[in-house]
């Protein structure tokens, strides 16, 4: 059953491609913790020539925390911008999520196009809802412009790529 949720990876090309899976872990609050696997592929907008912008699905952050919707623009196979069509966050973590977690995810997405840093160590788990919405946006872009459709499956979790740029040294 789990296996069937793993979409076959298509078109891994010479540059880094993100693939993702949600790996089960301790639930942090009960509600919304039961959703498990899916795979997501990003960085696969290679078929897109002219500029395209797409908005992903509205994804719940789980646990009544809020929701997020990601907007992506791509041109000539590169993501040119990532933004938020919507972000509602409630609860004690809201400042952290809106102020730091989501900006990090956006910079990771941008850097996936080829930044000098390939990954960041230090966990983020809020990324699931972001990734699911991002994936939906990439799927739309791929449909619009090319054959390298990004893959999304099942129940709507996903991943972001292993890249991030920016950030100053201390």
């Amino acid at each position: 059953m789990k296996r069937s949720a793993v979409a076959p990876a298509a078109a891994i090309v010479a540059t880094a491609v993100g693939l993702g899976v949600v790996f089960g872990y301790q639930p942090s609050g009960g509600a919304g913790a039961s959703s498990l696997p899916s795979t997501v592929k990003v960085g696969s907008t290679a078929g897109v020539g002219a500029g395209v912008t797409a908005v992903g699905t509205d994804q719940s952050l789980g646990g009544g925390l809020g929701d997020i919707q990601v907007r992506v623009s791509a041109k000539n196979g590169k993501i040119t911008s990532v933004g938020l069509a919507k972000l509602n966050v409630h609860g004690p973590q809201s400042a952290q999520i809106t102020g730091s977690v989501v900006p990090q995810l956006i910079s990771e997405t941008m850097a996936a196009n080829g930044g000098p840093i390939q990954a960041v160590s230090g966990a983020t788990y809020t990324s699931q809802a972001y990734a699911a919405s991002l994936q939906a946006a990439l799927d739309k872009i791929a449909k619009t412009g090319g054959t390298n459709a990004a893959l999304g499956t099942g129940n709507g979790n996903g991943s972001v790529l292993g890249n991030q740029g920016g950030g100053g040294d201390d």
């Binding site: 789990k2 296996r3 949720a5 793993v6 076959p8 990876a9 298509a10 891994i12 090309v13 010479a14 880094a16 491609v17 993100g18 693939l19 993702g20 899976v21 949600v22 790996f23 089960g24 872990y25 301790q26 639930p27 942090s28 913790a33 959703s35 498990l36 696997p37 795979t39 789980g62 973590q93 952290q96 730091s100 977690v101 900006p103 990090q104 910079s107 840093i117 390939q118 990954a119 960041v120 160590s121 230090g122 966990a123 983020t124 788990y125 809020t126 990324s127 699931q128 979790n157 996903g158 991943s159 972001v160 790529l161 292993g162 991030q164 920016g166 950030g167 100053g168 040294d169 201390d170």
Partner: protein, 262 residues
């Protein structure tokens, strides 16, 4: 909550054919390897999940399943946990957690290493796996380049504290921190959430151990730093509550970071 895992793969460069052991693997071969890697992660999750009540690990924890009758990976992982417990001076201790033995602190890195091996053995020129911020690499990101991994500033998710360059035996890095999921690493001596550190990062040759040692360092509030520094091939960086940092001499970053012989 799930941990997000991402996998980056680079095809072997055609120009290095002469030094590659086999013909460079390309798209379809690597696609299949990546699919196997992802399937492997799901399989590991099915066996080891501690929050799915029917998983073999959960049944073992409740005493409903004997170790001898459990999937053999469980005994293998628990063996690694024993070694990691000894290496950490007892600070990483899956046997001293509420609810029975819980190898979660090591199994994520262990699974990620196995998944990454699938693409390495398929002939990729380079690869990186990022399991919720715990990272392992092989090869090169681009021919002649080295993998660089940012270490998140625990006070701000969009800032990096420093960057480590991986290569040689330094091929895995893991960070244990109190941010985002809140205090969740327990001090095995008190049973209370560990205090005193914002984050602990460990670099070394194998992500399973690196992951466990980062957890142990955090659980020790930094007291295990000398112990980790004494392990051949491992280095560490601590960020204290007051944002001061302390790194072992071998930590593969060019920043000062309060570096000292531990």
């Amino acid at each position: 909550m799930g941990t997000v895992v991402s996998l980056a793969i680079r095809e072997a460069a055609a120009t290095t054919e002469a030094v590659e052991p086999a013909s460079p693997a390309s798209g379809p071969t690597l696609d299949a390897a990546a699919a196997r890697a992802l399937a492997l992660l799901h399989d590991v999750d099915t066996v080891f999940s501690t929050w799915q009540p029917d998983s073999p690990m959960s049944r073992l924890r409740r005493g409903e399943l004997e170790l001898a009758a459990a999937p053999p990976e469980i005994a293998a992982v628990l063996g690694l946990c024993r070694r990691a417990r000894a290496a950490s001076g007892g600070w990483f201790d899956p046997w001293r957690l509420p609810g029975g033995v819980d190898p979660t602190g090591l199994v994520k890195g262990w699974a990620a290493e196995r998944a990454l091996a699938e693409v390495r053995l398929a002939g990729a020129g380079g690869g990186l796996i990022n399991a919720g911020g715990d990272v392992a690499v092989f090869g090169e990101p681009e021919p002649g380049q080295r993998w660089r991994v940012g270490i998140r500033d625990p006070r701000a998710a969009d800032r990096l504290l420093t960057v480590v360059t991986l290569g040689g035996h330094d091929r895995a890095v893991a960070t244990s921190g109190a941010y985002e999921r809140g205090p969740h690493v327990l001090d095995p001596t008190s049973g209370e959430p560990a205090r005193g550190l914002l984050a602990a990062t460990v670099v070394g040759p194998d992500l399973a151990f690196v992951d466990a040692l980062a957890t142990g360092l955090f659980a020790s509030s930094g007291k295990a730093l000398a112990r980790v520094a004494g392990l051949r091939g491992y280095s560490a960086l601590l960020v204290y509550d007051d944002a001061t940092t302390r790194a072992t001499l071998g930590f593969p970053s060019t920043d000062a970071l309060g570096r000292q012989a531990a």
